[in-house]
């Protein structure tokens, strides 16, 4: 029974595909998967927008949207309709073709990333051998569309925002890749399905997630930071820092094209959360052995949503960094830490089983983190201050 529930979507797909003649079957299968992805993730996008607005509201002691539908749950629908019926304005001097293509490319590329994410047991769209590489290739292509958007608008703010966004995404791509490489080293595979399989084991009912190893945890933290920057989320949301750049690269977009950017941004967020969950949090594997009765896809989506909630939480709390600080942080702190993490992962591999490697690896990483943070703060001359008073 639990197995049935677990595989319900797979079986459903097989059943539907079985209805058509043999030669059409692979095409129909692909179409079904694409349709499923195109249906589920925009739905999740709507949910996460609502969660974000409600959650931010609660964090700020507000209620958030509550007028459309019961408790405002239909707000994303209203927003969507509004975006659709809005006039589509294109600046006179804009490069119309590129201006039109930019959001399309973004959305397409972002959705491509989902092809390799294992969303449940046997629920990978294209179980690819080099899945991780594919994912990063798609992520890298998104930068181009952002540049296209910023450049084609012929607006200083747009261009500045796009340049910032692209520079930031390139810089954080490096730590993002390198922190994932740790996982590749530990599993010996670029295939995301394999990575989940390795993590889907239990000792005393506890899972073998990579986040529970020293370098896995460090990589997780670095990955989370880099993923936040990669998706231009607060506190790394300078490309759209409204206090300086109005709205960044999509300043000149309106109506449906703007909605596409918005969708692209959130879908990218969801997909990178999915990747993070797959790499470090065991993908679709249950957090406890006894919880395996719950379908695997539930765990995958639950992990994504937890990750999204964390994004929202951060957005509600932090101010944003400045461009040069962001770059410094990427190149001078995150990158060295990920490189060290690679070394530690190698060390882990060669130290053999036992508690010693836990202690050594954790100690190295912790010391490096504390030291690095201390040095970084000291060299930038910032830190807590004390104040004097005049009577």
């Amino acid at each position: 029974m639990t197995n049935m529930l677990d595989q319900v979507f797979v079986l459903l797909k097989h059943r539907i595909v079985g209805l058509v003649p043999m030669p059409v079957q692979p095409i129909l299968g692909a179409v079904l998967s694409v349709v499923a992805i195109l249906a589920v993730f925009p739905g999740l996008f709507a949910i996460s927008v609502l969660l974000e607005r409600k959650g931010l509201g609660r964090m700020q002691n507000r209620i958030g949207p509550n007028r459309v539908g019961p408790l405002g749950v239909l707000q994303p629908v209203a927003d969507g309709i509004k975006a659709l019926i809005k006039e589509d304005l294109v600046p006179y001097s804009a490069d119309h073709v590129v201006h039109f293509l930019a959001p399309v490319v973004l959305v397409v590329v972002v959705f491509m990333g989902y092809a390799v994410l294992p969303m449940g047991r046997n629920m990978t769209f294209v179980p690819m051998d080099a899945g991780l590489l594919f994912y990063f290739a798609m992520g890298a292509s998104a930068e181009l569309s952002i540049f296209m958007a910023g450049w084609s608008s012929r607006n200083k703010y747009s261009l500045l925002g796009a340049m910032r966004a692209v520079a930031q995404m390139i810089s954080y791509e490096v730590p993002l890749l390198l922190s994932s490489v740790v996982i590749v080293m530990m599993t010996g595979s670029l295939s995301l399905d394999k990575i989940v399989e390795v993590q889907n084991q239990y000792t005393w009912g506890l899972p073998h997630w990579f986040v529970f190893t020293p370098m896995g945890f460090a990589a997780f933290v670095m990955f989370a930071i880099a993923a936040t920057a990669e998706t231009n989320r607060s506190p790394f949301d300078l490309p759209e820092g409204e206090s300086e750049l109005v709205a960044g690269y999509f300043t000149e977009y309106s109506g449906f094209k703007f909605a596409e950017f918005f969708l692209g941004e959130y879908v990218a967020m969801l997909s990178i959360s999915g990747l993070g969950a797959t790499l470090f949090l065991g993908g679709w594997s249950a957090p406890l052995e006894i919880l395996n009765v719950v379908p695997s896809w539930f765990w995958f989506f639950a992990k994504i949503m937890v990750w999204i909630c964390f994004y929202i939480w951060m957005r509600g709390t932090f101010p944003r960094l400045r461009q040069d600080q962001l770059m410094n942080f990427a190149w001078k702190f995150v990158l060295p830490m990920t490189l060290l993490n690679l070394l530690v992962a190698g060390l882990w591999r060669f130290m053999g089983e036992g508690w010693l490697r836990w202690v050594v690896c954790s100690a190295i990483l912790l010391a490096a983190y504390v030291l690095g943070g201390r040095i970084g703060m000291r060299s930038k001359k910032f830190g807590p201050r004390s104040y004097r008073y005049a009577e």
Binding site: E244, F318, K380, R385, R388, E391
Partner: protein, 385 residues
């Protein structure tokens, strides 16, 4: 624009430009999300570095000084509300002080206490919202701002129940206040004062040790003490630069001598110091409030013999100044014996504190300009008058 201003704008930049040489001129404002209203900064950028900045204001000019010279003394009182619309009560006080000096009017004891209580409450709500706006400029999604507004709401509720209006209070009168602060009001104030320390703690938890805030604000927008003194900067800006100058202490106006409070001083004169000085000032204001609410005597809230309306002061001049939340707020009046002043001049802290904006911003990153601007704490109504 006069010739000399044009020359000033066309003078060569004060810092060396890199070999790049391609300068980008960006007009930030008047419709820009970060300019707190209608204000424009013409920024010349070398890459992302600011090499020139021209503040352009006057979009909200409403002729307050001329109005002051045509209407009677009392009629100017509601206009002072509209200068710095965040702290109308301190504006009222400064104006009342100037007129009281002009006509030689004494203020009853209880009225002085009421004034202190309201001024310090105003200071707290102003500082809290300023910090909120400052972090908003840094991109904090408005969370500190909403917390500040939550507390400000309580204070404004008190103002409304006392003066009838939340922001445009029009409360002070020459020789006292318009209505009495009843025991109910005092109790409400006491309740606010007991709740506020928790709020300031919350604020500090959220921000003070936040590494991002430190990275964004420490060492940014430094204002050297000598420049600050030369430019006539006052208020928390000046104290953040390390100059000990608080009109409550130096001018002994009102009854501030009776309260024990300290003046926090910054050392570096950067944005973080301005932030911290404001936080610490809020705590000091709470001390004053506690004392004032304990000691407030019974008595008349306005001198019954005071002339409110239609009086003609003897020819002469008077300058009343107070430590407004934003700095030294002064009203200068010359009377020629008529029903309205011959000359009416406002010394607005916002405007004068804004004069050093270019000096603080030059050499900074363009993203810091808005933060420096936010740390000055201005209200455009007062800048443009």
């Amino acid at each position: 624009m006069s010739e000399s201003l044009l020359e000033a704008w066309n003078r060569p930049p004060t810092i060396e430009v890199d070999g790049e040489g391609e300068l980008l001129e960006v007009a930030m404002g008047p419709h820009h999300p970060s300019t707190h209203g209608v204000f424009r900064m013409d920024v010349v950028l070398d890459g992302e570095r600011v090499i020139k900045l021209k503040p352009v204001f006057g979009y909200l000019h409403r002729n307050h000084e001329q109005i002051g010279q045509t209407v009677g003394y009392l009629q100017m009182m509601p206009y002072t509300d509209r200068l710095d619309y965040f702290c109308s009560l301190t504006n009222n006080w400064a104006y009342a002080l100037a007129v009281e000096k002009l006509v030689g009017q004494a203020v009853p004891e209880r009225a002085e206490y009421i004034r202190v209580i309201l001024a310090e409450l105003t200071r707290i709500q102003n500082h809290a919202s300023t910090i909120g706006f400052l972090t908003q400029e840094m991109g904090a999604s408005g969370t500190p701002l909403m917390y500040a507004f939550r507390e400000r709401e309580k204070i404004l509720d008190l103002f409304e129940s006392l003066t009838g209006s939340r922001m445009m209070c029009n409360y002070m009168r020459f020789g006292g206040c318009r209505v009495d602060m009843t025991e109910a009001h005092l109790n409400a104030a006491r309740k606010i004062v007991t709740g506020l320390p928790r709020f300031i703690d919350e604020f500090e938890n959220l921000l003070t040790s936040n590494e991002i805030l430190m990275a964004r604000s420490q060492g940014m927008g430094v204002l050297k003490p000598d420049l600050a003194v030369n430019a006539g900067i006052t208020g928390p800006m000046l104290r953040a630069s390390g100059v000990n100058y608080d009109i409550r202490k130096v001018d002994h106006y009102g009854i501030y001598d009776r309260f024990s409070f300290r003046v926090p001083l910054g050392e570096h004169g950067d944005i973080y110091d301005r932030y911290m000085v404001r936080v610490l000032e809020m705590r000091e204001s709470l001390k004053i409030l506690e004392q004032a609410l304990k000691d407030i005597p019974a008595g008349p809230f306005i001198d019954p013999k005071a002339k409110i309306r239609g009086f003609k002061p003897k020819p002469g001049e008077a300058y009343g100044r107070i430590e407004a939340p934003k700095g030294e707020l002064g009203f200068y009046l010359i009377s020629d014996g008529g029903t309205s002043p011959y000359r009416f001049r406002i010394r607005p802290p916002s405007f004068i504190n804004l004069t050093v904006l270019e000096d603080m911003c030059i050499g900074q990153n363009v993203a810091d300009v808005v933060v420096v601007f936010g740390s000055v704490d201005i209200v455009l109504g007062e800048v443009d008058r």
